[in-house]
């Protein structure tokens, strides 16, 4: 490349990086606010350099018992992921390997669950769960989140199962293996990476979700996003603590997302594109 072209390339890169950093300022601001005292958080001009304190984290997670909400989020995410996988993997496999009568309808139905606004299901689920005495329990919200995630699991894993040549299945069947056996002993191990990525997406979807959790969980089972608005009280809004909880909600997600970065696009499109 010519010197001029190289220089242009470098300049553009610098501008681009600056752009990205500016784009991310709101997020950095959130993280930094979580480490500021109330006085510093509200100071004008806003402080870039300040004395960091973990007081907000201590106040909100220990004294205000948000640690419990953190645990709730983890419990829900764990079970949602497990159930979504247990239910979704076989279905994904079936879409990949079999042609069943009516599977187009099922596929379309799965699409529908992704498109449905959460409120449309939250309202009736509220009443149904109340009637079943499952309101404010973990079971209700876990089932609800799982249902939303199944479509996702099916689509994503179908793509992964498709990458395994059908011949491998055939030879296993010839050796006397049942479909179930082939599923467990061959397809699953071979798509382990895909399953890992899918699980992480499931967990993230559940972890970040607000409305359904807000309606279906109670005081004891509230996840972090649900408990968060509770920090806005008539005594004032505890922005430092909100920032602390917000940071804790986002950091694990970022770490996991970074790990599955390779599968990010697949996860987002989730079978929407071949």
């Amino acid at each position: 490349m010519t010197k001029k072209a190289l220089a242009i390339r470098r300049t553009v890169l610098i501008i681009f990086i600056l752009f990205i950093l500016m784009y991310l300022i709101p997020y950095f601001w959130l993280i930094s606010t979580s480490f500021k005292t109330r006085v510093e958080a509200f100071s004008i001009p806003p402080k870039l350099i300040f004395k960091a304190t973990i007081k907000n984290y201590r106040m909100v997670f220990i004294e205000k018992n948000f640690g419990k909400n953190l645990l709730n989020s983890m419990i829900v995410a764990f079970f949602v992921t497990s159930i979504s996988l247990i239910v979704g993997l076989p279905s994904a496999y079936a879409f990949s390997r079999f042609r069943m009568k009516g599977d187009k309808i099922l596929f379309f139905y799965l699409l529908g669950t992704r498109f449905t606004p959460v409120i449309v299901l939250s309202l009736p689920l509220y009443f149904i769960m109340a009637d079943l005495r499952l309101l404010n329990s973990f079971i209700g919200i876990i089932l609800a989140h799982s249902a939303f995630n199944i479509a996702f699991v099916v689509w994503m894993m179908k793509g992964f199962f498709d990458t395994i040549p059908k011949e491998i299945d055939e030879s296993a069947r010839v050796d006397g293996c049942s479909w179930l056996g082939s599923f467990f002993r061959i397809s699953i191990p071979l798509t382990a990476h895909g399953i890992a990525a899918t699980s992480i997406f499931c967990a993230i979807n559940s972890w970040n979700e607000f409305l359904m959790a807000f309606i279906l969980t109670g005081y004891k089972t509230a996840t972090l996003p649900v408990a968060l608005p509770g920090l806005m009280t008539p005594q004032g809004t505890f922005w430092g603590q909100i920032a602390a909880v917000g940071s804790v909600i986002t950091i694990p997600v970022l770490i996991f997302a970074f790990i599955v970065q390779k599968y990010m696009v697949q996860g987002m499109s989730a079978g929407a594109i071949k």
Binding site: P26, W29, I83, F98, M100, L110, G112, F210, A257
Partner: protein, 297 residues
């Protein structure tokens, strides 16, 4: 031969059954429940109204409800503006990312990914804090650079909607960018080589080759984002609450309010049914134009 097909069908069914059961319980049953309640008059304001049958009355009320139509209009404005801006910005970012390769690319992509991963509720709170007129970062910057902008964008209808759009754009542009990037990376190299041999310049290559190649992905992204933009509940709830007035009352916020603030459950259920039908139409369009098209490719 037919026996073999049957057993395969049965196996397939067995593999699908857990999913079918869970989905029916958690999605089909609630949808039917919505439909049922929508034909009654259930509201906590009127005791015993749970059992009063009113047929299509709620639907008639929706059609004549001035605020419902306002909400639809607000949602339409929001979805179109947000998706369009994300598209433009996303494509530009994707092109930039594509320009650089290797570990630099990985690093930049990781950074770009961040906004998408932040919980929508947290995005709303984040912007709420930044836009605080007294001590928010935004207010300070307006003063610092002597910008001719309102320090309280959330106080006026037009600018409040714009802020909502902005937060949605901030959060989801990475989605568009990454999808486009994937399409760019998957694009075959031959057309480019041929074009270069033919002496095409940069902009010709871009408009005549790049764009058509990534068009399918863009179409999908638009529809996916368009539909999901209707799910802006978390941000709207915490940032504006539908206000000022009802200038940011997107349709799922409107439905939520009817259900869980005014306790007009039947009316809200009818709204849910209407919403569902709209989404169904989108889904069918998607199915026909996108998935259908792909199986033809």
């Amino acid at each position: 031969m037919s026996l073999k097909v049957d057993s395969k069908q049965r196996t397939a069914l067995m593999f699908h059954i857990p999913a079918i059961v869970l989905l029916t319980l958690i999605t089909m049953v609630p949808l039917i429940y919505n439909l049922r309640i929508s034909f009654y008059d259930f509201s906590l304001t009127r005791a015993g109204s749970r059992d009063i049958f009113v047929g299509l009355e709620n639907y008639k009320m929706i059609l004549s409800d001035h605020e419902f139509w306002n909400s639809m209009w607000v949602t339409a404005k929001f979805v179109i503006a947000s998706t369009f801006i994300q598209l433009v910005l996303g494509v530009i970012i994707a092109l930039m990312l594509n320009y650089y390769s290797g570990s630099l690319n990985r690093l930049l992509t990781s950074l770009v990914m961040i906004p998408m991963m932040v919980a929508p509720l947290v995005v709303g709170l984040m912007y709420s804090f930044i836009l605080n007129p007294q001590f928010g970062l935004y207010s300070f910057l307006v003063d610092l650079f002597h910008l001719n902008l309102s320090k309280t964008p959330l106080s006026a209808g037009g600018s409040a909607l714009f802020v909502l759009i902005l937060t949605d754009v901030w959060e989801w542009t990475p989605f568009m960018a990454l999808m486009t990037l994937a399409a760019l990376k998957a694009a075959p190299i031959e057309p480019y080589e041929a074009a270069l041999i033919d002496g095409a310049n940069r902009s010709q290559i871009f408009f005549r080759i790049t764009i058509p190649l990534i068009r399918p992905v863009i179409a999908v992204s638009i529809i996916l984002r368009g539909v999901e933009a209707c799910k802006v509940f978390d941000k709207a709830f915490i940032l504006t609450g539908g206000g000022p007035g009802n200038s940011t009352e997107v349709i799922d916020l409107f439905t939520y309010r009817e259900a869980f603030v005014k306790y007009n459950f039947s009316y809200a259920a009818a709204l849910c049914v209407v919403l569902f039908i709209i989404m169904l139409i989108f889904g069918i369009l998607y199915w026909n134009f996108v998935i259908g098209k792909q199986s033809n490719d």
